[in-house]
Symmetry: C2
Subunit: 338 residues, 2 copies
């Protein structure tokens, strides 16, 4: 059994803040990053939890990320706001930008937040969930580092290109999904490689474009595949376009070229769309929500799950009892304070 | 060999207009519908071509569709316009609404067109392509009739819920996709049933939710599946929410309940988003387009295809040589004029 260390959510946040401050991050950045890392740990998305402190501090030590970058806001239209992260981490840029996004969408019904030039390591669900808390429906997309081949191809073009969506619900947690348009997360294939297990068919190809179940081949010579064949490939293309060239920012191919090698935190843009339901419908208040709840019941009533259900269950546990992380990870994190 | 009848595009349009007028459709509706049907025939999307005259006129004869419905425009915000189709067919509502959408997006950078209470039988690609012609990037979604089960379930909740996207390209045709979030189109499963062939695994389930390759079982007692497992299922849910309750309009479950049986033209809403690239990027004009073209080259340069490539090839042929339709279909269409 792995030995673990138990932390309250406040303790986890304080630990993250200490580490980030120790590495020179100013309070605004440190707080925004600690918040998303603790949210990841709390929801038992461990790969987006405190573990990320290791990568985040490495990026800072390597000097790739602008530690003191101040997000720079520019109003592009009544419905479009842009934040230049100035080569800093994304969470503060999102926090600053999302306040403007909420103000805009209250006046225009639909609005967009553009984030440029950010280093992105966080999941997208904390972002769309934070907008759902304002009773706003949100969609977020980003490119990543190119490691995924298009349907019918053999060379990596797309990143894992996540898409996240939230729909506010009258009681409790929003409807939220956040998934990679690759067949699986890259980290999942890493885990198969470490354990020497064969991959399920459909996750990756070799250098000739032939299906392979060898994780090392997929990671080193071949490429990952999108989910859902040519349809997933089309969605991955759309995400490249809308969160890359549309914003004047990097595609996944360009992000990896800038990085020089797979492994660094991807640098690129992000597009977040917000919808204020009150502008879209003339139905009586509550009628549309009831319609949506009826849809959710039709799904869960037959035993199917909604996305994020597991995450919300984990959240309830963590809110009550705190989190526990492997002692080895805790030691590694404490070593960052040396 | 099937005997065919050759028609120029002008002849095809004139034929469609005659049939629609004969069935009482006023000129505005008739022109809008003829335009999308001829576009379908021209691009060799035969199921959305002149063949649809048979279904369209049946809907009119049955009195379900409001023949003389005038699309009613309402401005909801600087960035949101809604068109109440008043239970008429969708193409005229889109034409009327899209003019407002283009005006809005030129001022706000992002804008939305809501269509309510329309009978929808057309593909979405003619709509997003028409916006690309204005140098606008567009996304369109609709629910349909419920016939698709959520991942992990067994009962139909979603329609085939299509999503279409366009990206204007400097020379020639835009980047366009338009696909169902079901594993395949429902018509495809009908074809398997008629020919008695077994379905590929993953297209449908039986009444107990078990995978089946029997087309009749899927169509009558079971349900279709989404593409891409739980990710496709999440996207189908998003489309239900954004093009249903968000707009105060029907979900696929409600659309089929209103219809009373699978078979009639679905009645529901539609959401179209428009993006004017000039508001999203501060790059030099052309730089973003070049970045997008580089992405497309990375896909096509390795032998993978872009979506719609086949359709654009068919279009070029039809523009040069006209279209040919089976004589039996031509006879059936002429019989509609009796």
């Amino acid at each position: 059994m792995t030995e673990t260390v138990s932390l309250s959510l406040a303790e986890a946040e304080a630990l993250a803040l200490r580490v980030l401050a120790h590495h020179g991050l100013p309070p605004g950045h440190a707080r925004a990053i600690a918040r998303v890392m603790v949210a990841g740990e709390r929801d038992e998305c461990h790969s987006h939890g405190l573990f990320r402190l290791l990568m985040c501090t490495r990026s800072l030590r390597e000097g790739k990320v602008a530690c003191h970058a101040e997000p720079l806001v520019s109003q592009r239209s009544p419905a479009v706001v842009a934040v230049d992260a100035q080569f800093g981490f994304s969470p503060l840029a999102f926090e600053v930008g999302s306040q403007h996004l909420v103000e805009k969408v209250r006046r225009t019904g639909i609005a967009a937040l553009v984030i440029n030039n950010c280093f992105h390591f966080s999941a997208l669900w904390p972002e769309v969930e934070s907008l759902a808390a304002h009773n706003i429906c949100a969609l977020a997309i980003t490119p990543a580092h190119a490691c995924v081949a298009p349907a019918g191809g053999r060379l990596a073009v797309f990143g894992t290109n996540p898409i996240a969506f939230s729909w506010p619900r009258p009681s409790g947690n929003p409807y939220v999904f956040d998934f990679a348009t690759s067949a699986v997360a890259r980290g999942e294939i890493e885990l198969y490689r470490r354990s020497g297990r064969p991959l399920p068919v459909g996750w990756g190809i070799d250098a000739d474009g032939a299906p392979t179940t060898d994780a090392a081949t997929v990671l080193q010579q071949g490429a990952m595949l999108t989910f859902g064949g040519h349809k997933g490939s089309a969605l991955a293309t759309m995400i490249e376009l809308l969160a890359g060239p549309l914003l004047g920012d990097l595609t996944s191919l360009e992000s990896i070229a800038v990085d020089g090698a797979i492994g660094g935190t991807p640098r690129h843009g992000e597009l977040i769309l917000a919808f204020d339901p009150s502008f879209f419908s003339t139905s009586a208040p509550g009628a549309d929500q009831a319609r949506a709840e009826h849809l959710f019941e039709a799904i869960t009533g037959q035993g199917a799950r909604l996305p994020s259900q597991r995450r919300f269950e984990a959240r309830a546990r963590s809110m009550a009892h705190g989190v526990s992380i492997p002692r080895a990870l805790h030691d590694d994190i404490l070593a960052l304070l040396a």
